[in-house]
């Protein structure tokens, strides 16, 4: 098939920058990476991009296609070429470009290192110099975070980092969660305090682009939510972001509704709220603020309170609750609850396996 694409070529040493179009003949199974290889081999040897495993595990080939970050090796070109679309390929965002599709990832790794990305063991040694005894449930709690291949797709997409480059960002925070959730680590509280501070979890704008673009299903935004839940559970909640979240919970528990009027003073404090009184009155004048008294109480508020009680009693108010929900969601998403109605060897399937010499049901004589 013929595949055409446009590539933003640039060179940090010469300052050149240009959008160039290429067309190559590629096999139908070709990925974006295969196409780039063809461009480099057949057309322009100076095209620069990183690559290695070509199987979504090394994390080298992050780049943008039509503005969205992808792994080149994971992006099949067939549909795009068939549709006659000519995609624009450019380097990842939130990182300086070195040449063409190669970015400088120094700041990416510095942030990674700043969360102390290694298990910090405590005084408890595993029994008999062997492995720690850890239940499946405990270990699988950090399964998603440990899938991360450091490709940078989440950072490339991060809106919060674009406005504030000092933000730790989705990659480093997901890595932090991987250690917060690890029973072998002794610094859980220290870690939660660190990520709750300046440039930490509460800087996240919850745009969910990192979840959307992560090629491995790490869901960094969810990792940030887990950190947040765990921090609040441990009363590391002095940040406005934490107060804001807590008020949602309190409000839902007491009245079953979000009492927006009280949200500002509960989050920002009374003094800050007084400063915004004029703005609030203005909103009220336009009917944008419900009267605070008497509080509007939902009819089934008892149900909301009961739910709150269950979460608290079962100890699911930290990250564990989110993990549990995640696992349930994953099952729903795959449509598999362990029982499939479909016979895997039924009509339309590839032949049922049989051993040589065995009689085959329905086999042609």
């Amino acid at each position: 098939m013929k595949v055409a694409l446009k590539i933003w070529r640039s060179n940090s040493q010469t300052g050149e920058r240009a959008l160039r179009e290429y067309e190559v003949d590629a096999p139908e199974w070709a990925t974006l990476l295969d196409v780039l290889d063809l461009v480099k081999d057949r057309h322009d040897g100076s095209l620069a991009y990183r690559k290695s495993c070509r199987m979504t595990i090394c994390g080298s080939c992050g780049m943008r296609m039509d503005g969205k970050t992808v792994l080149a090796c994971r992006t099949r070109m067939y549909d795009i070429a068939e549709a006659g679309h000519i995609p624009v390929i450019s380097a990842m965002g939130n990182m300086p470009v070195v040449k063409d599709l190669v970015t400088d990832m120094d700041s990416f790794w510095e942030k990674f290192k700043s969360v102390k990305p290694y298990v910090q063991p405590g005084y408890i040694e595993p029994p008999g110099g062997r492995e720690h005894i850890i239940s499946r449930e405990q270990m699988s709690a950090i399964h998603k975070e440990s899938l991360c291949i450091n490709c940078g797709a989440c950072v490339s997409e991060c809106n919060a980092m674009e406005s504030d480059p000092a933000f730790l960002g989705p990659h480093a925070l997901a890595k932090a969660m991987r250690f917060v959730g690890d029973p072998r680590d002794s610094k859980r509280i220290d870690r939660l305090e660190e990520v709750s501070g300046h440039n930490g979890i509460h800087q996240c704008t919850r745009c969910y682009y990192c979840n959307e673009r992560c090629p491995k299903g790490v869901d960094p935004r969810d990792a940030i939510a887990k950190l947040s839940a765990e921090a609040i559970k441990e009363s590391i909640d002095s940040d406005m972001g934490a107060k804001h979240a807590k008020w949602f919970v309190t409000s839902a528990k007491t009245t079953g509704w979000l009492r927006e009027t009280e949200l500002v003073p509960k989050t920002q404090g009374v003094l800050a709220s007084i400063k915004q009184a004029k703005f609030a009155l203005e909103l009220a004048r336009h009917g944008k603020v419900p009267p605070p008294f008497p509080a509007h109480v939902a009819k089934n508020v008892k149900e909301s309170r009961r739910l709150h009680g269950i979460v608290a009693r079962q100890g699911r108010n930290g990250f564990a609750g989110i993990v549990q929900g995640e696992q349930a969601m994953a099952k729903l998403e795959h449509g598999h609850t362990g029982h499939s109605d479909r016979d895997p060897y039924g009509p339309g399937s590839f032949p049922r396996p049989y051993l040589p010499g065995e009689k085959r049901e329905g086999a042609k004589a």
């Binding site: 081999d41 070509r54 199987m55 790794w109 492995e131 499939s340 060897y345 049989y354 040589p356």
Partner: protein, 558 residues
């Protein structure tokens, strides 16, 4: 830029060696053409073998014997005994560092069955075991603040005064050749699967360390033994783990027949890799394949088990073959996977040259002999990476200061100038494609005398063409056109060594199968290692004895 211990390559073996050398008190640096977590160790899927006995009774002796038998009695038994004995401790170390291994019901490490293993011995992390190891080792590297020369392409090993002095490397991000010296230098550059067109290996696996050592006059051992993995995805050669078969997957031909029953009636799909690859190739050659593939059938395992134990394989099959293994079998075929051969070392990782060590796939200790067992390579990287790191650090203590002589750098500059100075000729890609295809055709799962002889001539011609190839990119910044051209040179040298050793081995042993002229193993003549050196611009073959401690060769059936 000078260090006590310089590690070249940052996969599992390199990082494990660097950590050990650091902990032994040495000033360590790592040189790698990729960021460490991008190394191809990370693509290992199924697991890592150690006789923990968590799933069933097991012992290092049993592990050692399975490995000896798997090696078709070409592995050095002293090395294998050390390997099996030290493996469990190394696993506990990795677990204590934070490796996210899959757990058994009782909270201990789970172990799954793997090919040709007498007991469920393979520790794993779902089917991303290599990924988990590479992350945990990099974490430990960061914790120790070990210096990494990231994206430095090692080009020349430097020998002076009878010792290895260090390496000359190309700085990929900024351009320019840099000399980095080390009192002890450890090669951990991995394998050379890219000699073949269909391979599970990453683009980076071009045998750099083996070729650099070869050019320095060092011997490469058992180069004819390239393992073909039975389950690589059609058409790309991407690895589908042996763990699938460990979990109970079937191999079937186009009629739905579980053909392994014919070839390995007891072990079936879990026979040794060389046996399964040959069986598949026979099915395909005799017309019972589909599109040059057979089928790996997971459907009977059910969705739950596939999703929880083999999520990575499912993802790969869906992304790269458009097949969901819950509903459809996966098209697979044998592909070049692991090089049993490599730089000859002793059990401490020492090579023939003072101050030079090697560990992991680049090395040949030899643990794997003529055929490696699944799960043993990750273990080898860790155990022998650690051993090499320890030895290198201890030796560096007593070694003279190392320095790369200016003349060596000047020579390299001149050679680079010559390479970049060429214009108006063939570019490397065609040579690379012809090498990969011809090696697959003529030096694949089955080997014929006339095809191998033919391949020697093909390689000779390609080498001739290679001497005039043109690097189009003349710049300094991320010039992968240059590094890929150098890598091709490495591959050509190694291919020549492999085929020469293959023609000379007139028997069938492990991964070297000659069913048409020498269908059986010949212990009288060939129970010996092949040893290749580069002499006067061509490989020169010799042999060395195999170390036998306890186990005399017997017939190998599964």
């Amino acid at each position: 830029m000078s260090h006590d211990v310089l590690v070249i390559g940052a996969g599992c073996a390199g990082m494990r060696a660097a950590i050990e050398a650091h902990d032994a008190g040495a000033d360590v640096a790592v040189v790698s053409k990729l960021h460490p977590t991008r190394s191809h160790s990370g693509a290992a899927e199924g697991g890592i073998n150690a006789a923990l006995g968590n799933a069933k009774e097991d012992s290092p002796e049993a592990h050692a014997y399975d490995t000896v038998k798997g090696s078709d009695f070409l592995g050095d038994q002293d090395a294998i005994e050390v390997f099996a004995k030290e493996a469990p401790g190394d696993i506990y170390q990795l677990e204590n560092w934070g490796a996210v291994f899959t757990r058994a019901e009782d909270g201990r490490l789970a172990q799954r069955p793997f090919g040709a293993a007498g007991s469920p011995r393979t520790i794993f992390a779902a089917d991303i075991t290599g990924h988990v190891l590479i992350q945990v080792l990099y974490e430990q590297l960061v914790k120790r603040n070990i210096k990494v020369y990231e994206e430095f392409f090692a080009w020349k090993l430097v020998e002076d005064d009878g010792r290895c002095q260090g390496v000359i490397a190309w700085d990929m991000l900024n351009g320019g050749l840099k000399a980095i010296s080390g009192k002890s230098v450890i090669l951990a550059t991995g394998g050379a699967g890219r000699v073949y067109r269909v391979t599970t290996n990453a683009y980076a696996c071009t045998g750099d360390g083996m070729a650099m050592a070869l050019r320095l006059g060092l011997p490469l051992k058992d180069m004819e033994f390239m393992q073909f993995h039975p389950t690589t995805l059609y058409p790309t050669g991407i690895l589908i783990t042996e763990g699938c078969r460990g979990e109970g997957a079937y191999l079937i031909n186009k009629d739905g027949e579980r053909f392994m029953k014919k070839y390995a009636p007891n072990a079936l799909e879990l026979a040794s890799r060389d046996v399964v690859s040959r069986s598949e190739q026979t099915e395909i050659d005799e017309g019972r394949g589909i599109n040059g593939s057979v089928m790996l059938d997971l459907r009977h395992l059910g969705a739950e088990r596939i999703i929880s134990r083999l999520p990575g394989s499912r993802e790969l099959a869906m992304t790269y073959a458009g097949v969901d293994p819950i509903y459809d079998p996966i098209p697979v075929r044998p592909g070049a996977h692991y090089h049993m051969g490599g730089v000859s070392t002793d059990i401490h990782g020492k090579t023939e040259l003072e101050g030079l060590y090697a560990a992991g796939e680049v090395a040949c200790v030899s643990v794997h002999g003529a055929n490696r067992l699944g799960g043993n390579s990750l273990m080898e990287t860790i155990t022998f990476g650690r051993r090499a790191g320890r030895t290198a650090a201890e030796d560096a203590h007593f070694a003279p200061d190392a320095a790369v002589p200016d003349s060596a750098l000047a020579d390299a500059e001149r050679e680079l100038g010559e390479l970049l100075g060429r214009s108006g000729g063939e570019r490397p890609w065609q040579v690379r494609e012809e090498l990969g295809s011809s090696m697959l055709d003529n030096f694949g799962v089955f080997r014929r005398e006339e095809q191998m002889s033919n391949e020697i001539e093909i390689i000779e011609k390609l080498r001739h063409r290679y001497n005039n190839v043109v690097v189009e990119d003349k710049g300094g910044v991320f010039n992968s056109d240059l590094t890929q051209a150098i890598e091709l040179g490495y591959c050509l040298d190694l291919a020549a060594c492999m085929v020469q050793a293959g023609v000379a081995r007139k028997e069938s042993r492990g991964a070297h199968a000659r069913p048409h002229d020498y269908p059986t193993r010949d212990d009288d003549q060939f129970m010996k290692h092949s040893v290749t050196r580069w002499v006067d611009g061509a490989p020169k073959l010799d042999y060395a004895p195999v170390t036998v401690t306890k186990w005399q060769p017997t017939e190998r059936t599964y």
